[in-house]
Symmetry: C2
Subunit: 133 residues, 2 copies
C-alpha cells in the first residue's frame, strides 16, 4: 500500500459535516453544525466533534482558533494542515485563508533565538476587509 497521497475516504458523519462546512461562506461553529445536521441523524455534540477532529487532522478543514470555528481548506487539499494563515475582518468576521508562497516559506524557515525550527504554525491576521473599510 504505497501511495503518495493516502486517500481519505470520509466516513458518513465526516462527509456530512465536511459538506456543510465546505458549502458555507463563513466559518461554522460546532454547535451551529450540530443544529444543521440533526435532521440527518447526528444528534450529539460528540459526533460532531469527532468528525471535526478527524477533518482537521487530515487537513480538509481548519480551525480558526480565535473564533472557535471551522472553515474548509481551499488550498488544493492543504497537505499543510500544519501551516495555516488566515485574515479575519474584525467587523464582518469574514475569514479568508491566505495562500502566499512568500509567507509560508518565511514561516516554515523561521528559526527562533535558539535556532529552533517548528513543525507547525497557525497565523491569524486581523483588520478590516475591503467592504468594511
Amino acid at each position: 500500500m504505497n501511495k503518495m497521497h493516502k486517500e481519505h475516504n470520509l466516513s458518513k458523519n465526516q462527509q456530512i459535516i465536511f459538506d456543510i462546512i465546505n458549502k458555507s461562506p463563513e466559518p461554522l461553529k460546532a454547535y451551529t453544525i450540530l443544529f444543521n445536521v440533526q435532521k440527518k441523524g447526528i444528534k450529539a455534540p460528540l459526533q460532531v466533534y469527532r468528525a471535526l477532529d478527524k477533518l482537521v487532522e487530515i487537513g480538509k478543514i481548519h480551525k480558526i482558533e480565535s473564533r472557535n470555528a471551522f472553515i474548509a481548506c481551499h488550498n488544493s487539499s492543504c497537505q499543510v494542515a500544519k501551516a495555516t494563515a488566515f485574515s479575519i475582518c474584525e467587523i464582518c468576521e469574514k475569514v479568508t485563508e491566505i495562500s502566499s508562497a512568500g509567507l509560508s516559506k518565511y514561516l516554515a524557515n523561521f528559526k527562533d533565538k535558539d535556532g529552533m525550527k517548528y513543525s507547525k504554525y497557525n497565523l491569524e491576521f486581523f483588520g478590516l476587509c475591503k467592504k468594511c473599510r
Copy 2:
C-alpha cells in the same frame, strides 16, 4: 522610573490577577486563576474574565488562543497587544513569547493578494522544545 509609555494603574482585581499570571511559569486558564483567587475575595468567573479582558487590551498579558490560556507579556516591544508570536511545545506545553525583530517586521509589512495590510496578528508555532526533543 522609566516611562516610555502610559502607565496603566491596574485596579485591585486586575492587579491580583496580573500578579498570578506574571508569577506563573506557564500559561494559566481562567478557571485556574479563579480557583487561585477565591481566597482573595474574587468569587465569580466574570470578575476574572473582566480583568483578563482589560489586561489583554492594555497588553499586559496575551491569550494563547489554541490553549485558552493567558501568559504575561515579557516583551518590551509589545505594549501593543497587536502583534504576538509564541512557540508552543506539543509535549510539555511550554509556551514562550517570540521576540524577533525580523519576524515582527515581516508580518507587520505583510500584504495579501489584494495588497491589504493588517492591523493586528497572532502567530502560534508548534513543535518540540529542547527538553522534549
